[in-house]
Symmetry: C2
Subunit: 120 residues, 2 copies
């Protein structure tokens, strides 16, 4: 498939990453997301990576970029569903995803976004 779907859930957008990312797909996701945030006035973006057994520096960078992109468009990003092994690998690689919030699952991520949006 050529495109990662972005689902709207109320004021939030949900992106589920299931496939191996490559340059084109990552760029397209960023474009689509920027457009969707603008079109829907979304206040938050949830990126679910529960399907990923492994996160390399490419995906790490992409998540950082999406997070920065969302921030300047006034949306918060929360990374959810990280598998324990992925967390261990990230820490071992020294990739601590600066500026990216995390939550254990989609529900907790939504609560986190809700709290932040209400508080801001």
């Amino acid at each position: 498939m050529e495109r990662i779907p972005i689902l709207q859930m109320g004021p939030y957008l949900l992106v589920t990453i299931q496939v191996d990312m490559h340059d084109q797909l990552a760029l397209r996701l960023q474009d689509d997301l920027a457009e969707k945030i603008s079109k829907t006035s979304a206040r938050g973006v949830l990126i679910d990576i529960s399907a990923l057994d492994m996160v390399d520096s490419f995906i790490g960078r992409m998540i950082g970029t999406i997070s920065g992109l969302s921030r300047i468009m006034d949306a918060q990003t929360v990374l959810v569903g990280m598998q324990p092994a992925v967390a261990i690998t990230l820490v071992e690689l020294g990739m601590n995803l600066p500026g990216v919030s995390t939550a254990l699952n989609v529900e907790r991520g939504m609560r986190l976004l809700q709290a932040r949006v209400d508080g801001s």
Copy 2:
């Protein structure tokens, strides 16, 4: 990737299909979903196919099976995000997905599930 993630959103489960399905993956999804419905007492399953440009008879059958499985476990299934071209192809192929409810997007699908669960 080896597994399609099943995300819990309150009393509903969300499955986003992005990759080409094959036998193993479809069977695993059915197993995972049955287990997750039982564990979470979910009342509804949303299957998002917005990433699919094409739905063949294999995916059509799989959706029918998931729907039947959910029904006997007391959960409703709603298929969301179907692209117009996919709908046309399905009708042309004579696959009218009996017993499967559809909604335009995840939000509408959730409202449909909510109305049904409240009404039952």
